[in-house]
Structures are given as C-alpha cells and as structure tokens.
Symmetry: C2
Subunit: 291 residues, 2 copies
C-alpha cells in the first residue's frame, strides 16, 4: 500500500472504511467506488445482512462485523451512525486505525460530538474532523443509497483550532471528490444553523402531521405531502438529534412560535396587512431557494 501512496490524488485514499452502511454510508461507498476515490471500501456494521446487501449493491468491497479489524488498514474512516453513538464509535476507531488515518462522521449535530471527542482522543491518535453532508432522505437503508447523493450538495465541515490544516484539506478533497460542495463552520455555528434549517422543519412537519385529524388524511394532497414529508424520518434517529441540539432547537421553536402567534392574532383581528407581511416574507425566503 505504502509504495502506491504517491499515485494518489488528494481526493483519493487507498482504503476507505465506512462504519454503518445505511443510506449515507452506502451512498459514500457507491460514490467513492464509481468515482475512483477509494481503491477498496470496507463496510463495518453489526448486521451481516446489511453488509451483504451493501456488497451486492457495490457500495463496499469487503466487510467486517468487527470494528478493530475493519479499520486496521484504513486511511480514511467515515462513521455513519446515529449521532449519540458517534463519540464512542470514533473513540474505538481511533484505538485501532493507523495513527496517520483521518476519521470523520456524517452526523447531523456537531457540538456535543466534538466536545466529547476533544476529551477522549489523545494527541497520538488519528485526527477527527467532523462532517455533515446535507443530503439524505426520509428513506433509510443501503437499499436507497445512490452514487450521486452528494453531487452539488453541501457538506459542512467543522474543524476546530486543533484540527491540522492537512487534515482539513484532505477531508475537503474527499467530499469534493464525491461531487459535493464544501463549507466550514464551527461546531457551535453548525448546530445553530442546522437547528433552524433542518431540525426545526422536522419538528414542525411532525407536529403538522400529528395534528391532522386522521379521517382527513384521505383528502391530503401535494401541499400536505410536501410540508410533512420529513416527518416520515426515523423517530429514534431524530430523537437523538433533538437531544444533542436541544438548546438550539428550543430557541428556534421559540422564534417560530412568536411568528406563528403574530400570524394567528393577525388572522383573528382580520389584519390583512399583518397577514400579508408574514406570507410575503415567507414567500420571499422560499423564492430565494432554487427549486
């Protein structure tokens, strides 16, 4: 392996290890293989059946149910597991992967994970640099993985003062190699932004779906379907995200409730101008987004 390293472009690695081969992990494997980013991809997970499917789909080239074995030869390890399990898994990876390896994750929260790992990772271990690919779906599992899932999507990296510049460059090159665009934010800023753009929408979609009388669902059309789509996401995964980013989400809920209350009071008092103001702002912000 060593003698081949010189041939690798900055985006490439010899052995990519993916811990948790579901929708995100599977898509990373598919993209890395199809784009020639990794010579081999080791899938690591607890369920042999999921690893087998990942293999059949071409997302991984080998598999292991043992973390230590799976990461032993890896240059880059991506931990794609529910956010609350990430610190433990990254710490275990760091015990068994080469010192020169780079470890990242794909978690939707960053501050709690970063803080836990700052305490747990030693200076003589592999570097951890958090990633959050803003891609995914309410459809889980490697069966739904796509090689182009990250193309033109944003991946937020959350390096800290302690992250070596070389590790940051390497991680950026990796995600760009999968077709993504990359931005860097601090873990705190990431969690504050994502609370508003992802975690709050999930909560609101779930509340809207839950508040709909079930005998009205037969009349739900595309508007209801779009507005509630993300509520189909895995409940346990989302509870973990909400627990890890609780303070930011609660602040967003407070902001949302204030605007909602404004609109409700305006409708009550038939204040057309006040209703128009909120609807117009909402439209302007939505229109600012292509699609």
């Amino acid at each position: 392996m060593g003698e081949e390293a010189g041939e690798l472009s900055s985006a490439e690695c010899d052995t990519l290890a993916i811990v948790g081969v579901g929708l995100i992990g599977g898509s990373i494997g598919l993209a890395a293989r199809q784009r020639g980013i990794a010579r081999q991809v080791v899938g690591i997970g607890r369920r042999q059946s999921a690893l087998q499917l990942a293999c059949e789909r071409g997302a991984i080239t080998s598999m292991s149910t043992d973390l230590a074995t799976g990461v032993a030869q890896a240059d880059l390890i991506v931990v794609c597991s529910p956010v609350e399990t990430i610190p433990d898994l990254v710490a275990q990876v760091a015990e068994h992967c080469p010192h020169s390896a780079l470890i990242t994750d794909a978690g939707s929260t960053k501050q709690a994970i970063g803080a836990a790992l700052d305490e747990r990772l030693r200076a003589d271990q592999a570097t951890f640099n958090g990633s959050h690919p803003l891609a995914g779906s309410e459809k889980a599992g490697v069966a739904n993985a796509q090689a182009d899932l990250f193309v033109d999507r944003l991946v937020i990296l959350t390096p800290t003062d302690r992250t070596p510049a070389a590790a940051q460059d390497r991680l950026q090159a990796f995600w760009k190699g999968l077709g993504a665009q990359v931005r860097c934010l601090t873990p705190a800023r990431h969690d504050s932004v994502l609370a508003a753009t992802s975690h709050l929408p999930h909560v609101i979609a779930a509340v809207l779906a839950a508040a709909t009388p079930s005998d009205f669902l037969a009349f739900a059309a595309t508007g209801w379907a779009d507005t509630t789509r993300v509520a189909a996401g895995d409940v346990d995964m989302w509870q973990q995200i909400l627990r890890q980013n609780r303070d930011c989400v609660l602040r967003c809920l407070d902001d949302f409730a204030k605007v909602l209350n404004c609109l409700t009071r305006a409708l009550e008092r038939q204040d057309d101008a006040a209703v128009a103001e909120i609807l117009t702002l909402g439209k302007r912000q939505r229109d600012a987004l292509a699609d």
Copy 2:
C-alpha cells in the same frame, strides 16, 4: 349543436368555457381537448396575452375578453379565478349562459361561495355546483399548465340539497373524464377538511420560511425546501383563501399550537417518551400517505 347532443357521452360537452385560464384553467382546457371531452374550449379572461398563450399551448380553441360573449354558447362553464372573485363571476356567467348550462368553479374554499350564490342565483338560471380539484402547484400561470394535472387526483364536489341529481352526475362525469377521482362533501365539511389538509400547511410553511434567519438560507437543504415549498404560492390568492375560511383555519391553528406546545414542553423537560409519542404519531400519519 342540438342535433349532435345525442352523440355526446356523459363526460363530454360541446362547448366548454373556462373563465380564468391560468394553471388550473389551462390544465382543464388541455386535458379536455386531449381527452376529447369538449369539442371546443372558449378561454375567457381580461389579459389578451394570457389568452394568446393558452391558445398557443392548445388549452383553448377560441378566446374572449368579454364574459357575456364567451359563455353565450357554453354547455359547461368552469370559473377558475381567485376565491373572492368567484361569486360575482358565477353570477355574471349565469346572466349570459344558456339556462341548460352547468356552472362550476375550482376554488379552494366552498362555504362562502356557496352561501353567496344561494342568495344570488335564481331558479330560472343555470345550475351551479362547486368543484375543488386537489391539484395545483406553487407555480402559477398557463405556462405551467399540464394535460395530466388531474390524473388520479381527487376533485371534491360540493353539491347541496338544491343541486339537481343530473347536474351532479354531469359534473362527476366531466372530472372523471379528465382523469380525476371524485368525492362529494358538503361545503362546510369541505372547508373544515381543507383547512387542516391545505390551508394550515400553507400557513405553517409560510411561518417556517419567514422565521428562518435569512443568512442561514445558504444552508437550507431538501428538508427545508420540502417543508416550505407551498410558501412560494401567490400571496394574494392565499390571503383570499384565509379570509374565506378564517374560522376553520383558526381552529386548526389552535389545534396545531397545542401539539406544538406539548412537544416544546416535552423537549424542555427532556421527556423522551412524550417527544417520541408526537414524532411517532406524525410519522404514522405521514407514512399512511403513499409519497
């Protein structure tokens, strides 16, 4: 025309008039022509340019900016205009169309329109039977019209005790002829259901979009985009809907706020079971809808 009437299937009409040839009106015209439901389609509107475009797109076969002229020969007239303008337009249509004609609309509210027309239409005039096709888009205008917009979509008809059975049958056959499925509800029930399945989602999407800090929009991904999609809809059109269905929408807002408050308090006190209950109910209701 009379001698040809015997050749017409129940879904067909000789002359279909469409008042307001935008996304919905244009799609009705396209579908009626492509499916052989109408021998000719008269587009009626104020703006010559929109009528011209409707003609070029094949949605109408002739055009008129004069309502009286446009409906004079019509068997079926569909008023596709913002909800607050529907009663006046239907009353004008009834003054000028044949007594044997059937008038319907495509409005998103039904009670206020029905009540206004109950007072205004005389027994010697054409019959009005309300329709609401649950199809559409945040994209307006005949440029976005599609011949298959109604295929497998639901159209709610709101006949009353005074609507002749023959008119109900004729209207059902018309919409089924465009590919739609048809359900009948009372105007009151329609407005109560649609408040929850369409009008509330619009308000919530607008509030969510409005409450998002604008400097975070660069990080908005598919979750935010889906959840806020309908907020891009025309503000004036939606204000009219909210004014006409204010009481029902306010009741829905109250129900929504109660569930939202439950979830917020549960997150505050870290009550995982209570959070899970709402997320699980939301997921179950969303999963009940095939995409």
